[in-house]
């Protein structure tokens, strides 16, 4: 243990990540199957699929830990498909990694490719070739939110593991355990609220807990305060301005969100979507649905590769028009 421990802190999401498969309390079936790989010291390519924060990366790292021991990092290459600049970069890194020595008892190394469903079908084809080319010395663990976005030839080469959203009691008992460990005071109901707000995403739940604890005792009101602070208030202001027909001012807010907070277009659309159905936004019910419909269209266009600001400006212009019809700006 390092001496500086007391004066340094890391993110709890990492601090309390289970290190070994036996520490993972949920996803029992998956854990059992993974432990078989450890016993046999062999495994096929794996595809871990499921919603965010359900333990996919944790299971992959724990599997590596149990296979290789404390030294596991030397035998694992972590890549993130949405951060690497294209398949060429991935290819180069995989090639380099595959060349280096394999550990003694276990005849292969692991390449952990996160967010694999963000790769284009073409890139996935190239990935498939890589998986075949280096199968002697490496195994791939692909992690994805949406398994249907992974091409068939890859799926058929992998053992597929489906991670299900964590149970309420699992999330809450984990939060309690962390809070006790950190000697944080908390109200039971506050943990319930954290679960609700995080929609079963464990990492998000822990992030909220850590931020709320930094404000003091974890109560319902500190939890709401943290989540409120974390979500820029500009989103609601932007919507309201647009509905009132103040297009240029609302565009200013949009720019602030994208430039100062560094939010991507999709991030902004998602936050808008959350706002539309919040009771704090007082608009006709029918309007909520119409806005949601267009928000969905805009998100789709963004995913197709269109420019962030132009798409959101179209959205704001639409709001101005709808606002005039429904509210009478």
């Amino acid at each position: 243990m390092s001496v500086s421990e007391a004066f340094a802190e890391i993110l709890w999401a990492e601090k309390y990540r289970p290190k070994s498969l036996k520490e993972i309390v949920n996803q029992e079936e998956i854990v059992r199957r993974l432990q078989r790989f450890v016993e046999e010291k062999n495994m096929p390519h794996l595809l871990f699929a499921g919603p965010p924060g359900t333990g996919k990366t944790t299971a992959a790292l724990a599997l590596a830990h149990d296979l290789y021991g404390e030294d596991w990092r030397r035998y694992v290459l972590e890549l993130n498909a949405s951060d690497e600049r294209g398949i060429d970069v991935i290819r180069t890194k995989v090639k380099e990694f595959a060349r280096s020595r394999v550990p003694g008892i276990i005849p292969f190394k692991i390449i952990l490719l996160d967010e694999a469903d963000n790769m284009t079908p073409d890139a996935q084809q190239a990935l498939r070739r890589l998986m075949e080319m280096y199968v002697e010395t490496t195994r791939f663990i692909l992690v994805a939110n949406y398994p249907s976005k992974i091409i068939e030839p890859i799926q058929s080469r992998c053992a597929v593991f489906r991670f299900i959203p964590l149970r309420r009691e699992d999330v809450i008992s984990r939060l309690k355990w962390i809070a006790n460990n950190e000697k944080v005071e908390y109200e039971e109901e506050a943990l319930e609220v954290i679960y609700e707000l995080s929609e079963g995403d464990m990492r998000r739940a822990i992030n909220i807990l850590q931020a709320a604890a930094a404000l003091g005792k974890v109560t319902i009101s500190t939890v709401y305060k943290v989540v409120g602070l974390a979500h820029p208030k500009e989103v609601r202001e932007m919507i309201q301005l647009a509905l009132r027909g103040k297009f240029i001012e609302s565009r200013e807010k949009l720019r602030k969100l994208m430039i100062e907070y560094g939010l991507s277009g999709v991030d902004v659309v998602k936050q808008i979507h959350r706002e539309i159905f919040s009771a704090d936004l007082k608009i006709p019910e029918e309007l909520r649905v119409l806005i949601a419909d267009y928000a969905g269209e805009i998100q789709y266009r963004l995913v197709e590769g269109a420019d962030d600001e132009i798409q959101l400006n179209a959205f704001l212009a639409r709001l101005a028009l709808l606002g005039k019809k429904f509210i009478g700006a």
Binding site: V3, S4, F7, A8, E9, I10, L11, A13, E14, P52, T57, E78, N80, S82, D83, R85, G86, D88, D114, E115, T120, R203, R204, N207, I208, Q210, A211, A214, L215, G216, V226, L229, A230, H231, P232, I248, R251, R255, I259, Y261, G262, L263, S264, D267, R301, E304, G305, A306, D307, E309, I310, Q311, N313, A314, A317, R318, A320, L321, G323, K324
Partner: protein
């Protein structure tokens, strides 16, 4: 008729065979001889030079098609991105293509488009690329005497393209007229050719603009539509022309006469639409058109299918113009696109944010994207509300001073005080432990010297 898929004529009537390239016999002969004897040539690369629209790129494309080379094209604007050059360089250095044994031609278009200091590395990268390439590298440029191109003199064969004669241009225009079933007056074609000053590309564009708007090409119409091309229109003129267009072709013509390329034009429109158009319905229709233009732009990037460009232009120009029920001749104060301005100003901040996201992404095994949307907001809450705790995290994650400044904002001084305090404490503790390990020494002095925590008023942040 307008419902039919439209490909710009410059693309539709691109020469498909070497013989289709007009009146450049000498250049053809030289280039063919060079490429056929490659790699047994004195100079590994070739530089085709001559006025715009004289057929440089077309000839290379025709050669590739006819002699079955795989053509790898790169434009001046790409040279700026080291990653792109790298990508091309890797391809160039590989001996055979992944698609069987076809050899390749690497075409670097408009190398004289590299600009000043910003692209300084660009030319170096090209020289390097020529050195390692296992395939012929062909470049194009307008001005061979450009001092920038000096480093290429010794490694590239310079091949001249002559300016096309008026009669050459007319010949091609006639061919297009008959292919398109257009009634074309000879006088009109000559007028277009003369105006083009040997630039076949611009002549074809003009012909298309006239034919599209009116359906026949007469000298009279040509003279009214084609204003003297003494200079290109600046962004303000372009936007005014688009917004006051009554017909689709006027808006399209305005774009073709502009200094702005399509990406810039879209940015300018994105900025200025609301200054021109204030009616809510029209405003939305204008942005919807721009939005669709941008979708097609995205599809081009994803699919590499440049034929879609004409739809980008249709929607960005005519789409925006005709979103108004009645064209306006109103005056509006136009602005330089805020986005372009801010992107430059905030580059440093964006880079810093990427750095922080990268640091944390490695730490918690996830993507920078997820860190930015899901982790940084909460970290900010901690940094702005509990400087003492924030300092511990800053130390635990090894953050730089700048990163702390970014996350803490106005609380930077407080966080940074705690960071200093805690790191001193850490050092002290290490010393103390070392001293304790040696029992011969006296009781540790370090403990007495231990600094007091910064003002307790700071601690009150925790309670907030």
């Amino acid at each position: 008729m307008s419902m039919i898929r439209r490909v710009p004529w410059v693309i539709k009537y691109r020469p498909r065979r070497i013989n289709d390239v007009v009146n450049q016999e000498e250049a053809k002969r030289k280039l063919l001889a060079w490429i056929k004897s490659w790699p047994n040539v004195k100079k590994k690369a070739a530089l085709l030079w001559g006025p715009p629209g004289s057929g440089k790129t077309s000839l290379v494309e025709a050669i590739a098609k006819e002699l079955k080379y795989e053509l790898i094209e790169m434009n001046a604007s790409d040279f700026r991105r080291a990653s792109d050059i790298e990508r091309i360089a890797i391809t160039a250095a590989r001996r055979t293509s992944i698609f069987g044994a076809r050899s390749k031609i690497i075409l670097l278009d408009e190398v004289d488009g590299l600009q000043g200091r910003a692209d300084l590395g660009g030319l170096e990268a090209i020289v390097k690329l020529i050195e390692i390439s296992r395939h012929p590298v062909i470049m194009t440029a307008n001005d061979p005497w450009d001092p920038k191109l000096r480093p290429l003199r010794n490694i590239a064969e310079f091949i001249e393209f002559k300016k096309l004669r008026e009669s050459d241009v007319v010949k091609v225009l006639k061919r297009i007229c008959s292919a398109e079933n257009l009634v074309c007056e000879e006088d009109a074609l000559r007028f277009i050719a003369q105006r083009s000053e040997g630039d076949l590309r611009s002549a074809i564009n003009d012909l298309e603009a006239i034919a599209e708007g009116v359906g026949k090409v007469s000298l009279n119409i040509a003279k009214t539509i084609l204003r003297p091309r003494d200079r290109e229109h600046n962004p303000f003129e372009t936007l005014r022309a688009i917004f006051s267009s009554k017909y689709a072709w006027q808006a399209k013509l305005a774009a073709s006469q502009s200094q702005l390329d399509y990406d810039q034009l879209i940015e300018w429109l994105n900025e200025n639409v609301p200054y021109y158009i204030t009616d809510y319905e029209e405003l939305w229709r204008a942005y919807e058109a721009l939005s669709r233009a941008s979708v097609y732009r995205g599809r081009i990037i994803k699919s590499g299918n440049w034929d879609l460009l004409s739809y980008v232009m249709d929607l960005a120009t005519a789409g925006v113009a005709l979103s108004q029920k009645v064209p306006r001749y109103k005056w509006a104060r136009l602005k330089f696109p805020e986005k372009i301005k801010r992107m430059a100003e905030t580059k440093e901040v964006r880079e810093l944010r990427e750095e922080i996201a990268g640091l944390i992404a490695r730490h918690i095994h996830t993507s920078r994207r997820l860190v930015k949307s899901d982790v940084l907001p909460f970290l900010r809450v901690i940094f702005e509300n509990n400087p003492r705790y924030a300092a511990k995290i800053a130390l635990g994650l090894n953050m730089t001073d700048k990163m702390i400044q970014y996350l803490a904002g106005s609380k930077y001084n407080e966080v940074s005080k705690y960071v200093k305090y805690f790191s001193e404490m850490t050092k002290k503790t290490v010393e103390t432990k070392l001293i304790q390990k040696e029992p011969s020494k006296k009781t540790p002095k370090a403990k007495k010297k231990t600094k007091k925590e910064p003002e307790s008023s700071l601690l009150s942040y925790m309670k907030k």
